[in-house]
Structures are given as structure tokens and as C-alpha cells.
Amino acid sequence: MHAAQILAYSDVGTIVFGWGVTAAGVAGYGFWLARRGRSLSRNVAPEDRRWT
């Protein structure tokens, strides 16, 4: 129902693209960090990774 409303914006493509890029950038970096954190954790002694 909101889709029609959004599509009526001027420059809707640019606006949605801007939000998309931001979301993708933040999420992508976040996932990359999480994955790298997991793989690195396997190589590091437990006493060097103590955070709770």
C-alpha cells in the first residue's frame, strides 16, 4: 500500500538507491566483521579473547 506512495516521489530511484547503498554498506561491513571475527577466533588462544 505504501509502495505506490513511495513510487510517486520525485527522483525515487536516487533516493531508494541512496538508502540501499547505505544499508548495504553498513550491513556488508558488519557481516564481514562478524565472519572475520569468527574465523580469527579459531586461531587465537581463549585468554586473548575475553569479552562478555
Binding site: 505504501h2 506512495q5 513511495i6 516521489y9 520525485s10 527522483d11 525515487v12 536516487t14 533516493i15 531508494v16 538507491f17 541512496g18 538508502w19 547503498v21 547505505t22 544499508a23 554498506g25 553498513v26 561491513y29 558488519g30 566483521l33 562478524a34 572475520r36 571475527g37 569468527r38 580469527l40 577466533s41 579459531r42 586461531n43 587465537v44 588462544a45 581463549p46 585468554e47 586473548d48 579473547r49 575475553r50 569479552w51 562478555t52
Partner: protein, 260 residues
């Protein structure tokens, strides 16, 4: 909110070696992450659907809800990198090194996103992605400075030498950014005031939307910074571990062959 209490699996038993986390997550970051996952869609809904178009900018104001929070926060990790670099030179501990490295990474993400959203906003408002506007130009140069720093960080060299060199470049980050900003704004002020249209008065639900978006990005910055710090810390330890293993293997080899 009851789900928040269930997120304790990060301290699962670690094969008798204690309760060390198996990832860079901790209870605090999981709570933070959950809050972000809940509030970010709300911010998107407010910004993309319910917010009124701006009187002057029209719908372009919707880009402001991502652009302004990103840009307003992007200098924090840059400053943090310089501070951590100074502290590393004084204390020489891995913690400061990891902090400098990770905050530069987060800064690069934020500055990069700020540039992209700024260019998109410019395309709508000014009709062009790029103008040699003071803010755009100095931000682009800051981005390049950060890329140089990250390239230095990634450079395969002896860890101790790399930390030392990175610290000095990291200290120069803020002075360089200030020099660039100052000179570029002076340069542009000679030509014309290109930052037209930036001073929008937000009112009513626009202000609420902006406030929510700003809040979400603060949380995102904190979450990313914590995880980036832990990853940087782990990679420092892993690098050292690799070195230890290599030395141990080498010694074992020498023993096996009679020590030469």
C-alpha cells in the same frame, strides 16, 4: 524484549578451555545489534513513507535522513584513530594499535557512505553528482587519506614496524584533515558559495524522523566500532600466534635434523 535474555550462547563451553567467546559478539553487542535491527526499519519507514516532503527540497530530504547522520558522525572515528595513535606511541600496547586500525576502517566506511549519499543528494538538488564544493572536495581528500592509511595497515610487513609507521601516519590524519578542510574551503570561498540548499529547516515529523535516524546511526557506529576493534585485536593476536607457531615449527625441524 524477552528475546534479549536468550542471547547468551556466545559464552558456550569452549572445549574445557574456559568460557571464551567464539566470535566477536558479546552480550552487549547482541543487545545493541537487536536494537539496531528493530529501530533501523522504523527509521526507514519514517524516512521513506511517513515523512513529509520538504518545502524547498521536496523528496530529496529523504536522502538527508541517511546522509546527515552519516556525515555528522564520520569525524568521530577519524579523531579516535589519531588519539589512539598518540596513545600507542606512548603505551605501545596492542589495544591502542587495534583501536587506531579499527577506527580508521569504520571512518572509511562512514566517509565513503557520506560521499555517496552526498553525491546522490547533489544529483537531485544541483542536477549533478559532483561539484567542486568545499565540503565534497575536502571529504573526498579525507577519504583518500584514509585509504592510504588502510593500505599501510594492510601492507604485509613486520607487525612491529607496521604498527610504528601506522601510528605516525595516524597522528597526521587529523592535522592533514584540518589543513585540507581549511585550504579547500578558502579556495572555494573565492569562487562561489556552492553549499547552497544545505541549510534546510526541518520541522514537525521531519525533525522526529531525523532524530530517529541519527540515533540509529549512533548505535550502528558503536556496534561497528566494537566489532571492528575486536577483529583488529584478534588479527594482531593471530599474527603473533602465527609467528610463534612458525618459530616453534622451525625449532622442531632443527631438532629433528640434529640442530645443524
Amino acid at each position: 524484549m524477552t528475546t534479549l535474555t536468550q542471547t547468551t550462547d556466545d559464552t558456550a563451553p569452549d572445549g574445557g578451555a574456559g568460557a571464551a567467546p567464539r566470535s566477536t559478539g558479546s552480550r552487549a553487542t547482541r543487545v545493541l545489534g537487536t536494537v539496531i535491527l528493530v529501530t533501523a526499519p522504523i527509521a526507514a519507514y519514517l524516512g521513506l513513507v511517513t515523512s513529509d516532503p520538504d518545502v524547498v527540497q521536496g523528496d530529496a530530504v529523504r536522502l538527508f535522513y541517511v546522509h546527515v547522520p552519516v556525515v555528522s558522525l564520520m569525524y568521530l572515528p577519524v579523531i579516535l584513530c589519531t588519539v589512539a595513535s598518540i596513545m600507542w606511541l606512548r603505551k605501545r600496547t596492542d589495544g591502542w594499535d587495534a583501536l587506531a586500525s579499527s577506527s580508521a576502517e569504520v571512518a572509511t566506511i562512514f566517509v565513503g557512505l557520506g560521499l555517496v549519499t552526498g553525491a546522490l543528494w547533489g544529483e537531485i538538488t544541483w542536477g549533478t553528482y559532483w561539484t567542486w564544493d568545499a565540503r565534497l572536495t575536502s571529504t573526498a581528500l579525507l577519504f583518500l587519506l584514509l585509504l592510504g592509511y588502510l593500505a599501510l595497515r594492510r601492507y604485509p610487513a613486520e607487525p612491529a614496524a607496521r604498527s610504528k609507521v601506522s601510528a605516525v601516519v595516524g597522528i597526521l590524519l587529523v592535522p592533514n584533515a584540518i589543513l585540507v578542510h581549511y585550504s579547500v574551503s578558502w579556495w572555494r570561498s573565492l569562487h562561489q558559495d556552492a553549499t547552497r540548499g544545505l541549510d534546510t529547516k526541518m520541522e514537525g515529523n521531519q525533525l522526529t524522523t531525523y532524530a530517529v535516524a541519527q540515533g540509529v546511526f549512533v548505535l550502528i557506529l558503536v556496534w561497528l566500532s566494537i566489532h571492528a576493534f575486536r577483529v583488529a585485536w584478534l588479527s594482531l593476536q593471530a599474527e603473533r600466534g602465527d609467528l610463534d607457531v612458525a618459530i616453534a615449527e622451525r625449532m622442531a625441524d632443527d631438532d629433528a635434523t640434529g640442530g645443524m
